[in-house]
Point group: C2
Chain length 330, copies 2
Protein backbone atom coordinates (compact mmCIF):
# COMPACT_ATOMS: atom_id res chain seq x y z
CA UNK A 1 0.00 0.00 0.00
CA UNK A 2 1.42 3.39 -0.92
CA UNK A 3 1.62 6.03 1.78
CA UNK A 4 -1.10 7.89 -0.07
CA UNK A 5 -3.54 4.96 -0.02
CA UNK A 6 -2.84 4.66 3.69
CA UNK A 7 -4.87 7.80 4.33
CA UNK A 8 -8.14 6.69 2.74
CA UNK A 9 -10.86 6.77 5.40
CA UNK A 10 -8.40 7.61 8.18
CA UNK A 11 -9.47 10.05 10.88
CA UNK A 12 -6.90 12.83 10.87
CA UNK A 13 -6.60 15.94 13.01
CA UNK A 14 -4.44 18.91 12.06
CA UNK A 15 -3.61 21.51 14.71
CA UNK A 16 -2.92 24.83 13.06
CA UNK A 17 -5.06 23.41 10.31
CA UNK A 18 -6.14 26.74 8.82
CA UNK A 19 -2.54 27.90 8.64
CA UNK A 20 -0.15 27.80 5.72
CA UNK A 21 1.22 24.26 5.81
CA UNK A 22 -1.73 22.85 7.77
CA UNK A 23 -4.26 23.90 5.16
CA UNK A 24 -2.19 22.61 2.24
CA UNK A 25 -1.90 19.32 4.11
CA UNK A 26 -5.65 19.35 4.74
CA UNK A 27 -6.40 19.83 1.04
CA UNK A 28 -4.17 16.93 0.08
CA UNK A 29 -5.61 14.68 2.80
CA UNK A 30 -9.15 15.49 1.75
CA UNK A 31 -8.22 14.51 -1.80
CA UNK A 32 -6.74 11.24 -0.52
CA UNK A 33 -10.04 10.38 1.12
CA UNK A 34 -9.13 11.04 4.74
CA UNK A 35 -11.66 12.26 7.27
CA UNK A 36 -10.08 15.59 8.17
CA UNK A 37 -10.62 17.82 11.19
CA UNK A 38 -8.83 21.09 11.72
CA UNK A 39 -8.09 23.01 14.90
CA UNK A 40 -7.09 26.64 14.58
CA UNK A 41 -7.32 29.67 16.84
CA UNK A 42 -7.56 32.10 13.89
CA UNK A 43 -5.56 34.67 15.85
CA UNK A 44 -5.08 37.49 13.33
CA UNK A 45 -1.32 37.75 13.85
CA UNK A 46 -0.81 34.06 13.14
CA UNK A 47 -1.15 32.10 9.94
CA UNK A 48 -4.73 30.81 10.13
CA UNK A 49 -7.02 32.04 7.37
CA UNK A 50 -10.44 30.70 6.39
CA UNK A 51 -9.61 31.43 2.76
CA UNK A 52 -7.01 28.66 3.00
CA UNK A 53 -9.72 26.01 2.84
CA UNK A 54 -11.71 27.63 0.05
CA UNK A 55 -13.18 24.82 -2.02
CA UNK A 56 -12.83 22.10 0.63
CA UNK A 57 -15.02 23.66 3.33
CA UNK A 58 -17.58 20.89 3.03
CA UNK A 59 -14.96 18.14 3.28
CA UNK A 60 -13.24 19.19 6.50
CA UNK A 61 -14.48 19.85 10.02
CA UNK A 62 -13.22 23.10 11.51
CA UNK A 63 -12.84 23.70 15.24
CA UNK A 64 -11.96 27.25 16.14
CA UNK A 65 -10.03 26.51 19.29
CA UNK A 66 -6.69 27.37 20.82
CA UNK A 67 -4.27 24.59 21.76
CA UNK A 68 -3.48 26.55 24.94
CA UNK A 69 -6.98 25.67 26.08
CA UNK A 70 -6.04 22.34 27.66
CA UNK A 71 -9.61 21.63 28.72
CA UNK A 72 -10.76 21.41 25.10
CA UNK A 73 -8.00 19.07 24.01
CA UNK A 74 -9.53 15.74 25.11
CA UNK A 75 -12.66 16.25 23.03
CA UNK A 76 -10.62 17.52 20.09
CA UNK A 77 -8.01 14.76 20.08
CA UNK A 78 -10.11 11.73 20.96
CA UNK A 79 -10.84 9.33 18.15
CA UNK A 80 -8.25 10.56 15.64
CA UNK A 81 -5.81 8.04 14.25
CA UNK A 82 -3.31 10.67 13.20
CA UNK A 83 -2.47 14.05 14.63
CA UNK A 84 -0.47 16.45 12.51
CA UNK A 85 0.65 18.89 15.15
CA UNK A 86 1.39 22.15 13.38
CA UNK A 87 -0.05 24.75 15.75
CA UNK A 88 2.67 27.15 16.74
CA UNK A 89 3.78 30.71 17.22
CA UNK A 90 6.34 31.08 14.46
CA UNK A 91 7.53 34.67 14.69
CA UNK A 92 11.03 35.02 16.07
CA UNK A 93 10.69 38.75 16.58
CA UNK A 94 7.36 38.32 18.38
CA UNK A 95 9.08 35.85 20.72
CA UNK A 96 11.44 38.64 21.77
CA UNK A 97 8.60 41.03 22.55
CA UNK A 98 6.38 38.46 24.24
CA UNK A 99 8.34 35.37 25.20
CA UNK A 100 5.55 34.19 27.52
CA UNK A 101 3.00 33.77 24.75
CA UNK A 102 5.58 31.92 22.72
CA UNK A 103 6.22 29.67 25.72
CA UNK A 104 2.53 28.99 26.25
CA UNK A 105 1.96 27.93 22.65
CA UNK A 106 5.22 26.31 21.62
CA UNK A 107 6.12 24.72 24.92
CA UNK A 108 3.28 24.34 27.41
CA UNK A 109 0.50 23.60 24.90
CA UNK A 110 2.67 20.90 23.32
CA UNK A 111 2.97 19.24 26.70
CA UNK A 112 -0.81 19.43 27.08
CA UNK A 113 -1.34 17.91 23.66
CA UNK A 114 0.96 15.00 24.48
CA UNK A 115 -0.55 14.47 27.94
CA UNK A 116 -3.94 14.36 26.25
CA UNK A 117 -2.83 11.94 23.54
CA UNK A 118 -1.26 9.77 26.21
CA UNK A 119 -4.44 9.58 28.26
CA UNK A 120 -7.13 9.78 25.59
CA UNK A 121 -5.62 8.43 22.44
CA UNK A 122 -2.35 6.58 23.01
CA UNK A 123 -2.55 4.70 19.71
CA UNK A 124 -2.53 7.88 17.61
CA UNK A 125 0.41 8.71 15.42
CA UNK A 126 1.70 12.25 16.01
CA UNK A 127 3.79 14.23 13.54
CA UNK A 128 5.24 17.43 14.95
CA UNK A 129 6.27 20.47 12.91
CA UNK A 130 9.59 21.58 14.34
CA UNK A 131 12.08 24.02 12.91
CA UNK A 132 15.66 24.51 11.82
CA UNK A 133 15.69 27.34 14.39
CA UNK A 134 16.74 24.79 17.00
CA UNK A 135 20.19 24.62 15.48
CA UNK A 136 20.90 28.32 15.86
CA UNK A 137 23.89 29.61 13.89
CA UNK A 138 25.23 26.58 12.01
CA UNK A 139 28.68 25.32 12.95
CA UNK A 140 28.93 23.46 9.66
CA UNK A 141 26.93 23.15 6.44
CA UNK A 142 24.81 21.48 5.38
CA UNK A 143 23.23 20.95 8.80
CA UNK A 144 22.30 17.35 9.59
CA UNK A 145 20.17 16.10 12.48
CA UNK A 146 23.31 15.51 14.59
CA UNK A 147 24.24 19.17 14.52
CA UNK A 148 24.34 20.61 18.07
CA UNK A 149 21.21 22.48 19.12
CA UNK A 150 21.79 26.06 20.20
CA UNK A 151 18.68 28.20 19.73
CA UNK A 152 19.25 31.93 19.47
CA UNK A 153 15.88 33.27 20.61
CA UNK A 154 12.98 32.34 22.92
CA UNK A 155 11.10 30.88 19.96
CA UNK A 156 13.92 28.45 19.31
CA UNK A 157 14.11 27.48 22.98
CA UNK A 158 10.39 26.85 23.23
CA UNK A 159 10.22 24.94 19.97
CA UNK A 160 13.11 22.77 21.18
CA UNK A 161 11.20 22.01 24.38
CA UNK A 162 8.06 21.23 22.37
CA UNK A 163 10.00 18.89 20.11
CA UNK A 164 11.66 17.11 23.03
CA UNK A 165 8.36 16.54 24.79
CA UNK A 166 7.32 14.59 21.71
CA UNK A 167 10.47 12.48 21.80
CA UNK A 168 10.33 11.96 25.57
CA UNK A 169 6.65 10.96 25.51
CA UNK A 170 7.48 8.60 22.69
CA UNK A 171 10.19 6.93 24.70
CA UNK A 172 8.53 6.84 28.11
CA UNK A 173 4.93 6.14 27.13
CA UNK A 174 5.35 4.47 23.77
CA UNK A 175 3.57 7.21 21.81
CA UNK A 176 4.36 7.10 18.11
CA UNK A 177 5.83 10.53 17.41
CA UNK A 178 7.83 11.84 14.47
CA UNK A 179 9.52 15.23 14.30
CA UNK A 180 10.11 17.19 11.09
CA UNK A 181 12.51 20.11 11.30
CA UNK A 182 11.40 22.49 8.59
CA UNK A 183 13.43 25.17 6.86
CA UNK A 184 11.94 28.09 4.88
CA UNK A 185 8.72 26.70 3.48
CA UNK A 186 6.87 28.78 0.91
CA UNK A 187 4.00 28.63 -1.51
CA UNK A 188 0.28 29.34 -1.81
CA UNK A 189 -1.60 30.16 1.40
CA UNK A 190 1.35 31.46 3.36
CA UNK A 191 0.81 34.62 5.35
CA UNK A 192 1.91 37.61 3.29
CA UNK A 193 0.35 40.43 5.36
CA UNK A 194 3.67 41.28 7.01
CA UNK A 195 7.08 39.80 7.70
CA UNK A 196 6.11 38.42 11.07
CA UNK A 197 6.56 34.77 10.13
CA UNK A 198 8.87 35.00 7.14
CA UNK A 199 10.41 37.62 4.91
CA UNK A 200 9.46 35.62 1.83
CA UNK A 201 5.74 36.20 2.35
CA UNK A 202 6.27 39.95 2.22
CA UNK A 203 8.52 39.59 -0.78
CA UNK A 204 5.88 37.63 -2.68
CA UNK A 205 3.30 40.27 -1.97
CA UNK A 206 5.61 43.13 -2.91
CA UNK A 207 6.66 41.35 -6.09
CA UNK A 208 3.01 40.89 -7.09
CA UNK A 209 2.37 44.58 -6.36
CA UNK A 210 5.47 45.67 -8.25
CA UNK A 211 7.08 47.11 -5.16
CA UNK A 212 10.63 47.09 -3.89
CA UNK A 213 11.91 44.07 -1.92
CA UNK A 214 14.17 44.86 1.02
CA UNK A 215 17.07 42.47 1.60
CA UNK A 216 18.64 42.70 5.06
CA UNK A 217 22.39 42.83 5.37
CA UNK A 218 24.65 42.16 2.40
CA UNK A 219 22.33 39.67 0.72
CA UNK A 220 24.90 36.88 0.76
CA UNK A 221 23.17 34.78 3.43
CA UNK A 222 22.41 31.42 1.87
CA UNK A 223 19.22 29.57 2.67
CA UNK A 224 17.27 26.60 1.38
CA UNK A 225 13.59 26.62 0.52
CA UNK A 226 10.92 23.95 0.51
CA UNK A 227 7.88 24.31 -1.70
CA UNK A 228 4.81 23.64 0.40
CA UNK A 229 3.66 20.61 -1.60
CA UNK A 230 7.00 18.97 -0.90
CA UNK A 231 6.68 19.77 2.79
CA UNK A 232 3.19 18.24 2.76
CA UNK A 233 4.64 15.11 1.18
CA UNK A 234 7.14 14.87 4.04
CA UNK A 235 4.27 15.03 6.56
CA UNK A 236 2.34 12.35 4.71
CA UNK A 237 5.35 10.03 4.62
CA UNK A 238 6.13 10.64 8.28
CA UNK A 239 2.53 9.94 9.25
CA UNK A 240 2.20 6.73 7.27
CA UNK A 241 5.53 5.01 7.86
CA UNK A 242 6.18 3.07 11.05
CA UNK A 243 9.93 3.42 10.58
CA UNK A 244 9.53 7.16 11.17
CA UNK A 245 8.31 6.62 14.75
CA UNK A 246 10.63 8.23 17.30
CA UNK A 247 12.75 9.83 14.59
CA UNK A 248 13.75 13.40 13.77
CA UNK A 249 14.10 14.42 10.12
CA UNK A 250 15.37 17.59 8.51
CA UNK A 251 13.24 18.76 5.61
CA UNK A 252 15.29 20.68 3.07
CA UNK A 253 14.81 21.31 -0.59
CA UNK A 254 16.66 22.45 -3.62
CA UNK A 255 20.27 23.67 -3.44
CA UNK A 256 20.62 26.81 -1.36
CA UNK A 257 20.57 30.28 -2.86
CA UNK A 258 21.65 33.62 -1.45
CA UNK A 259 18.94 36.06 -0.48
CA UNK A 260 20.14 38.47 -3.16
CA UNK A 261 19.82 35.70 -5.77
CA UNK A 262 16.36 34.89 -4.48
CA UNK A 263 15.27 38.52 -4.65
CA UNK A 264 16.68 38.83 -8.15
CA UNK A 265 14.85 35.68 -9.27
CA UNK A 266 11.59 36.83 -7.75
CA UNK A 267 11.77 40.22 -9.44
CA UNK A 268 12.55 38.50 -12.73
CA UNK A 269 9.63 36.09 -12.41
CA UNK A 270 7.23 38.79 -11.29
CA UNK A 271 8.21 40.84 -14.31
CA UNK A 272 8.39 44.02 -12.29
CA UNK A 273 9.47 45.55 -9.02
CA UNK A 274 13.01 45.76 -7.75
CA UNK A 275 15.11 44.93 -4.72
CA UNK A 276 17.80 46.60 -2.66
CA UNK A 277 20.02 45.94 0.32
CA UNK A 278 19.20 47.64 3.61
CA UNK A 279 21.04 47.36 6.93
CA UNK A 280 19.82 44.67 9.30
CA UNK A 281 17.41 46.09 11.88
CA UNK A 282 19.29 45.79 15.18
CA UNK A 283 16.76 43.44 16.73
CA UNK A 284 16.80 41.03 13.81
CA UNK A 285 20.56 41.08 13.63
CA UNK A 286 20.74 39.85 17.24
CA UNK A 287 18.88 36.66 16.34
CA UNK A 288 19.99 36.11 12.74
CA UNK A 289 21.45 32.67 12.13
CA UNK A 290 23.52 33.49 9.03
CA UNK A 291 23.83 30.79 6.37
CA UNK A 292 21.66 27.72 6.77
CA UNK A 293 20.82 24.80 4.60
CA UNK A 294 19.76 21.35 5.58
CA UNK A 295 21.26 17.96 4.98
CA UNK A 296 18.01 16.09 4.39
CA UNK A 297 19.59 12.81 3.28
CA UNK A 298 18.00 10.99 6.23
CA UNK A 299 14.50 11.90 5.03
CA UNK A 300 15.38 10.99 1.46
CA UNK A 301 17.10 7.74 2.39
CA UNK A 302 14.74 6.42 5.03
CA UNK A 303 11.38 7.61 3.77
CA UNK A 304 12.08 8.04 0.06
CA UNK A 305 11.25 11.73 0.09
CA UNK A 306 12.45 13.98 -2.69
CA UNK A 307 11.45 17.55 -3.54
CA UNK A 308 9.56 17.76 -6.80
CA UNK A 309 9.08 21.48 -7.21
CA UNK A 310 12.17 23.56 -7.89
CA UNK A 311 12.56 27.12 -6.67
CA UNK A 312 11.74 28.76 -9.98
CA UNK A 313 8.59 26.74 -10.50
CA UNK A 314 7.56 27.12 -6.86
CA UNK A 315 7.90 30.88 -6.98
CA UNK A 316 5.97 31.03 -10.26
CA UNK A 317 3.13 29.03 -8.76
CA UNK A 318 3.18 31.22 -5.65
CA UNK A 319 3.07 34.44 -7.65
CA UNK A 320 0.20 33.06 -9.75
CA UNK A 321 -1.71 32.13 -6.61
CA UNK A 322 -1.39 35.55 -5.02
CA UNK A 323 -2.16 37.34 -8.28
CA UNK A 324 -5.45 35.46 -8.32
CA UNK A 325 -6.28 35.34 -4.61
CA UNK A 326 -4.44 38.36 -3.22
CA UNK A 327 -7.63 39.93 -1.92
CA UNK A 328 -7.95 37.20 0.74
CA UNK A 329 -4.34 37.57 1.88
CA UNK A 330 -3.31 41.23 1.73
Amino acid sequence: MSHEEAYRGRRVLITGGLGFIGSNLARRLADLGAEVALVDSLIPEYGGNRANIAGIEDRVAVHVSDVRDADSLPALLRGHELVFNLAGQTSHVDSLHDPYTDLEINCRAQLSILETVRHENPEAKVVFASTRQLYGRPEYLPVDERHPLAPVDPNGVNKAAGEWYHLVYGRIYGLRCTVLRLTNTYGPRMRVKDDRQTFLGTWLRRAVEGEELLVFGDGTQRRDFTYVDDAVEAFLLAGARAEADGEVFNVGGEPPVSLAELAELLVELAGGGSWRLVPFPEERRSIDIGDYYADDSKLRGRLGWAPRVGLREGLERSLAFYREHGASYW
Copy 2:
Protein backbone atom coordinates in the same frame (compact mmCIF):
# COMPACT_ATOMS: atom_id res chain seq x y z
CA MET B 1 42.19 39.79 43.88
CA SER B 2 41.22 36.19 44.59
CA HIS B 3 37.74 35.08 43.66
CA GLU B 4 37.03 34.82 47.38
CA GLU B 5 37.98 38.43 48.10
CA ALA B 6 35.74 39.44 45.23
CA TYR B 7 32.68 38.66 47.34
CA ARG B 8 33.44 40.94 50.29
CA GLY B 9 30.61 43.44 50.63
CA ARG B 10 28.90 42.26 47.44
CA ARG B 11 25.12 42.08 47.36
CA VAL B 12 24.24 38.51 46.45
CA LEU B 13 20.88 36.83 45.94
CA ILE B 14 20.43 33.06 45.98
CA THR B 15 17.21 31.58 44.63
CA GLY B 16 16.55 28.23 46.26
CA GLY B 17 18.71 29.66 49.01
CA LEU B 18 17.36 27.45 51.80
CA GLY B 19 17.96 24.35 49.74
CA PHE B 20 20.89 21.98 49.78
CA ILE B 21 23.46 23.67 47.56
CA GLY B 22 21.96 27.14 48.00
CA SER B 23 22.35 27.10 51.77
CA ASN B 24 25.90 25.76 51.63
CA LEU B 25 26.70 28.55 49.18
CA ALA B 26 25.01 31.06 51.50
CA ARG B 27 27.11 29.95 54.45
CA ARG B 28 30.31 30.31 52.48
CA LEU B 29 29.28 33.72 51.09
CA ALA B 30 28.39 34.98 54.55
CA ASP B 31 31.85 33.93 55.74
CA LEU B 32 33.43 35.75 52.80
CA GLY B 33 31.69 38.96 53.88
CA ALA B 34 29.01 39.12 51.22
CA GLU B 35 25.61 40.66 51.87
CA VAL B 36 23.43 37.62 51.30
CA ALA B 37 19.71 37.37 50.57
CA LEU B 38 17.90 34.09 50.05
CA VAL B 39 14.68 33.35 48.22
CA ASP B 40 13.00 30.03 48.90
CA SER B 41 9.44 28.76 48.70
CA LEU B 42 9.97 26.20 51.49
CA ILE B 43 7.63 23.79 49.72
CA PRO B 44 7.85 20.64 51.87
CA GLU B 45 8.54 18.29 48.95
CA TYR B 46 11.50 20.38 47.79
CA GLY B 47 14.91 20.94 49.34
CA GLY B 48 14.36 24.12 51.36
CA ASN B 49 14.84 23.75 55.11
CA ARG B 50 15.27 26.50 57.71
CA ALA B 51 17.68 24.24 59.58
CA ASN B 52 20.06 24.70 56.65
CA ILE B 53 20.93 28.20 57.79
CA ALA B 54 21.28 27.35 61.48
CA GLY B 55 24.02 29.58 62.86
CA ILE B 56 23.92 32.18 60.09
CA GLU B 57 20.30 33.31 60.50
CA ASP B 58 21.39 36.78 61.57
CA ARG B 59 23.75 37.19 58.65
CA VAL B 60 21.37 36.45 55.78
CA ALA B 61 18.03 37.92 54.72
CA VAL B 62 15.37 35.32 54.00
CA HIS B 63 12.46 35.90 51.63
CA VAL B 64 9.91 33.12 51.64
CA SER B 65 8.74 33.51 48.07
CA ASP B 66 8.21 31.34 45.03
CA VAL B 67 10.04 32.13 41.78
CA ARG B 68 6.82 31.31 39.93
CA ASP B 69 5.39 34.49 41.44
CA ALA B 70 6.62 36.79 38.68
CA ASP B 71 5.13 39.86 40.37
CA SER B 72 7.49 39.53 43.32
CA LEU B 73 10.62 39.13 41.25
CA PRO B 74 11.38 42.81 40.55
CA ALA B 75 11.54 43.70 44.24
CA LEU B 76 13.52 40.55 45.00
CA LEU B 77 16.08 40.90 42.22
CA ARG B 78 16.65 44.65 42.18
CA GLY B 79 19.93 45.87 43.62
CA HIS B 80 21.78 42.56 43.73
CA GLU B 81 25.13 42.38 42.00
CA LEU B 82 25.08 38.61 41.72
CA VAL B 83 22.24 36.16 41.37
CA PHE B 84 22.93 32.51 42.04
CA ASN B 85 19.89 30.96 40.43
CA LEU B 86 19.39 27.58 42.08
CA ALA B 87 15.62 27.42 42.52
CA GLY B 88 14.32 24.35 40.77
CA GLN B 89 12.14 21.29 40.86
CA THR B 90 14.74 18.52 40.85
CA SER B 91 12.73 15.31 41.05
CA HIS B 92 12.67 13.36 37.82
CA VAL B 93 9.89 11.07 38.99
CA ASP B 94 7.78 14.04 40.12
CA SER B 95 8.20 15.51 36.65
CA LEU B 96 6.49 12.42 35.23
CA HIS B 97 3.54 12.72 37.58
CA ASP B 98 3.18 16.48 37.27
CA PRO B 99 5.03 17.81 34.24
CA TYR B 100 3.21 21.14 34.42
CA THR B 101 4.61 22.09 37.81
CA ASP B 102 8.05 21.14 36.60
CA LEU B 103 7.50 23.35 33.55
CA GLU B 104 6.33 26.29 35.64
CA ILE B 105 9.37 26.19 37.90
CA ASN B 106 12.18 25.00 35.66
CA CYS B 107 11.09 26.68 32.45
CA ARG B 108 8.63 29.54 32.82
CA ALA B 109 9.96 30.93 36.11
CA GLN B 110 13.46 31.00 34.64
CA LEU B 111 12.16 33.12 31.80
CA SER B 112 10.54 35.45 34.33
CA ILE B 113 13.78 35.72 36.30
CA LEU B 114 15.72 36.65 33.18
CA GLU B 115 13.09 39.10 31.96
CA THR B 116 13.24 40.71 35.39
CA VAL B 117 17.04 40.85 35.45
CA ARG B 118 16.98 42.32 31.97
CA HIS B 119 14.59 45.09 32.92
CA GLU B 120 15.50 45.74 36.54
CA ASN B 121 19.08 44.72 36.96
CA PRO B 122 20.89 44.20 33.65
CA GLU B 123 24.36 44.56 35.19
CA ALA B 124 23.90 41.60 37.53
CA LYS B 125 25.92 38.45 37.04
CA VAL B 126 23.72 35.32 36.95
CA VAL B 127 24.95 31.79 37.63
CA PHE B 128 22.44 29.08 36.79
CA ALA B 129 22.36 25.61 38.32
CA SER B 130 21.74 23.25 35.43
CA THR B 131 22.06 19.50 35.35
CA ARG B 132 23.72 16.57 33.61
CA GLN B 133 20.15 15.39 32.95
CA LEU B 134 20.19 17.43 29.75
CA TYR B 135 22.52 14.90 28.16
CA GLY B 136 20.19 11.96 28.64
CA ARG B 137 21.78 8.54 28.15
CA PRO B 138 25.43 9.23 27.34
CA GLU B 139 26.66 8.32 23.87
CA TYR B 140 30.26 8.39 25.11
CA LEU B 141 32.08 8.77 28.41
CA PRO B 142 33.19 10.94 30.02
CA VAL B 143 30.55 13.42 28.87
CA ASP B 144 31.90 16.83 27.86
CA GLU B 145 29.92 19.98 27.18
CA ARG B 146 29.79 19.17 23.44
CA HIS B 147 27.87 15.96 24.04
CA PRO B 148 24.49 16.05 22.26
CA LEU B 149 21.56 17.01 24.47
CA ALA B 150 18.77 14.46 24.59
CA PRO B 151 16.77 14.71 27.82
CA VAL B 152 14.83 11.60 28.82
CA ASP B 153 12.09 13.12 30.98
CA PRO B 154 10.06 16.33 31.31
CA ASN B 155 12.47 17.55 34.00
CA GLY B 156 15.36 17.32 31.57
CA VAL B 157 13.39 19.12 28.86
CA ASN B 158 12.38 21.96 31.15
CA LYS B 159 15.85 22.33 32.64
CA ALA B 160 17.26 22.50 29.11
CA ALA B 161 14.82 25.28 28.26
CA GLY B 162 15.72 27.10 31.49
CA GLU B 163 19.41 26.82 30.70
CA TRP B 164 18.95 28.04 27.12
CA TYR B 165 16.97 31.08 28.22
CA HIS B 166 20.04 32.08 30.20
CA LEU B 167 22.31 31.67 27.19
CA VAL B 168 19.89 33.39 24.81
CA TYR B 169 19.34 36.35 27.14
CA GLY B 170 23.09 36.59 27.50
CA ARG B 171 23.57 36.77 23.76
CA ILE B 172 20.64 39.00 22.84
CA TYR B 173 20.60 41.40 25.77
CA GLY B 174 24.17 41.20 26.98
CA LEU B 175 23.29 39.70 30.36
CA ARG B 176 26.27 38.05 32.04
CA CYS B 177 25.14 34.46 32.56
CA THR B 178 27.08 31.32 33.36
CA VAL B 179 25.66 27.80 33.39
CA LEU B 180 26.94 24.97 35.59
CA ARG B 181 25.76 21.48 34.71
CA LEU B 182 25.88 19.57 37.97
CA THR B 183 26.13 15.84 38.48
CA ASN B 184 25.25 14.01 41.74
CA THR B 185 26.05 16.52 44.44
CA TYR B 186 26.01 15.33 48.04
CA GLY B 187 26.90 16.42 51.54
CA PRO B 188 25.48 18.10 54.61
CA ARG B 189 22.05 19.76 54.24
CA MET B 190 20.82 17.64 51.38
CA ARG B 191 17.26 16.40 51.59
CA VAL B 192 17.25 12.91 53.09
CA LYS B 193 13.53 12.53 53.87
CA ASP B 194 12.91 10.42 50.76
CA ASP B 195 14.44 9.60 47.40
CA ARG B 196 12.56 12.31 45.55
CA GLN B 197 15.63 14.32 44.59
CA THR B 198 18.37 11.72 44.85
CA PHE B 199 18.86 8.16 46.00
CA LEU B 200 21.99 9.16 47.91
CA GLY B 201 20.06 11.21 50.46
CA THR B 202 17.99 8.19 51.40
CA TRP B 203 21.10 6.03 51.50
CA LEU B 204 22.82 8.42 53.91
CA ARG B 205 19.84 8.39 56.20
CA ARG B 206 19.49 4.61 56.09
CA ALA B 207 23.22 4.19 56.70
CA VAL B 208 23.02 6.43 59.77
CA GLU B 209 20.03 4.45 61.00
CA GLY B 210 21.72 1.10 60.34
CA GLU B 211 19.13 0.12 57.76
CA GLU B 212 19.40 -1.63 54.45
CA LEU B 213 20.27 0.37 51.30
CA LEU B 214 18.41 -0.60 48.14
CA VAL B 215 20.42 -0.52 44.91
CA PHE B 216 18.30 -0.49 41.73
CA GLY B 217 19.25 -2.80 38.91
CA ASP B 218 22.50 -4.71 38.89
CA GLY B 219 24.50 -2.06 40.75
CA THR B 220 27.03 -1.65 37.95
CA GLN B 221 25.84 1.81 36.84
CA ARG B 222 28.77 4.16 37.21
CA ARG B 223 28.30 7.72 38.39
CA ASP B 224 30.43 10.61 39.59
CA PHE B 225 29.82 12.59 42.74
CA THR B 226 30.60 16.14 43.77
CA TYR B 227 30.97 17.02 47.42
CA VAL B 228 28.88 20.10 48.10
CA ASP B 229 31.82 22.30 49.14
CA ASP B 230 33.40 21.64 45.78
CA ALA B 231 30.16 22.49 44.00
CA VAL B 232 29.99 25.73 46.02
CA GLU B 233 33.53 26.54 44.90
CA ALA B 234 32.44 26.11 41.28
CA PHE B 235 29.60 28.61 41.83
CA LEU B 236 31.96 31.10 43.46
CA LEU B 237 34.44 30.86 40.59
CA ALA B 238 31.69 31.16 37.98
CA GLY B 239 30.26 34.20 39.74
CA ALA B 240 33.55 36.03 40.11
CA ARG B 241 35.28 35.40 36.80
CA ALA B 242 34.41 37.44 33.72
CA GLU B 243 35.76 34.70 31.45
CA ALA B 244 32.89 32.49 32.63
CA ASP B 245 30.27 34.82 31.11
CA GLY B 246 28.22 33.11 28.42
CA GLU B 247 29.85 29.74 29.10
CA VAL B 248 28.56 26.31 30.08
CA PHE B 249 30.64 24.15 32.41
CA ASN B 250 30.25 20.58 33.55
CA VAL B 251 30.91 20.10 37.25
CA GLY B 252 32.22 16.63 38.00
CA GLY B 253 34.29 15.25 40.78
CA GLU B 254 36.39 12.29 41.69
CA PRO B 255 36.68 9.23 39.42
CA PRO B 256 33.35 7.47 38.93
CA VAL B 257 32.26 4.54 41.05
CA SER B 258 29.56 1.95 40.55
CA LEU B 259 26.47 2.23 42.70
CA ALA B 260 27.30 -1.13 44.29
CA GLU B 261 30.76 0.17 45.20
CA LEU B 262 29.21 3.31 46.62
CA ALA B 263 26.73 1.35 48.71
CA GLU B 264 29.52 -0.90 49.96
CA LEU B 265 31.68 2.10 50.91
CA LEU B 266 28.81 3.80 52.68
CA VAL B 267 27.99 0.71 54.72
CA GLU B 268 31.66 0.35 55.61
CA LEU B 269 31.96 4.00 56.70
CA ALA B 270 28.71 3.92 58.63
CA GLY B 271 29.92 0.85 60.49
CA GLY B 272 26.58 -0.85 60.17
CA GLY B 273 23.64 -1.52 57.90
CA SER B 274 23.76 -3.46 54.66
CA TRP B 275 22.78 -3.17 51.01
CA ARG B 276 21.15 -5.32 48.41
CA LEU B 277 20.16 -5.24 44.76
CA VAL B 278 16.50 -4.84 43.87
CA PRO B 279 14.88 -4.67 40.43
CA PHE B 280 14.44 -1.22 38.95
CA PRO B 281 10.93 0.13 39.54
CA GLU B 282 9.38 0.28 36.07
CA GLU B 283 8.89 4.04 36.13
CA ARG B 284 12.47 4.76 37.07
CA ARG B 285 13.80 2.34 34.52
CA SER B 286 12.04 4.28 31.78
CA ILE B 287 14.03 7.42 32.58
CA ASP B 288 17.31 5.93 33.83
CA ILE B 289 20.35 7.27 32.01
CA GLY B 290 22.74 4.38 32.71
CA ASP B 291 26.41 5.22 33.21
CA TYR B 292 27.31 8.88 33.51
CA TYR B 293 30.39 10.76 34.45
CA ALA B 294 31.48 14.20 33.46
CA ASP B 295 34.48 15.50 31.63
CA ASP B 296 35.00 18.64 33.69
CA SER B 297 38.33 19.64 32.16
CA LYS B 298 36.83 22.90 30.87
CA LEU B 299 35.97 24.01 34.41
CA ARG B 300 39.38 22.93 35.68
CA GLY B 301 41.28 24.49 32.80
CA ARG B 302 39.44 27.77 32.42
CA LEU B 303 38.51 28.58 35.99
CA GLY B 304 41.12 26.62 37.92
CA TRP B 305 38.54 24.51 39.71
CA ALA B 306 39.54 21.22 41.32
CA PRO B 307 37.62 19.02 43.73
CA ARG B 308 39.21 18.95 47.16
CA VAL B 309 37.04 16.46 49.01
CA GLY B 310 37.26 12.86 47.91
CA LEU B 311 34.32 10.48 48.06
CA ARG B 312 35.43 8.71 51.24
CA GLU B 313 36.01 11.93 53.14
CA GLY B 314 32.84 13.50 51.78
CA LEU B 315 30.72 10.57 52.86
CA GLU B 316 32.33 10.58 56.30
CA ARG B 317 31.56 14.26 56.73
CA SER B 318 28.01 13.70 55.53
CA LEU B 319 27.42 10.81 57.91
CA ALA B 320 28.85 12.86 60.79
CA PHE B 321 26.54 15.75 59.91
CA TYR B 322 23.40 13.63 59.85
CA ARG B 323 24.37 11.76 63.00
CA GLU B 324 24.48 15.12 64.76
CA HIS B 325 21.63 16.94 63.01
CA GLY B 326 19.38 14.13 61.87
CA ALA B 327 16.44 15.41 63.87
CA SER B 328 16.11 18.41 61.55
CA TYR B 329 16.25 16.32 58.39
CA TRP B 330 14.44 13.03 58.98
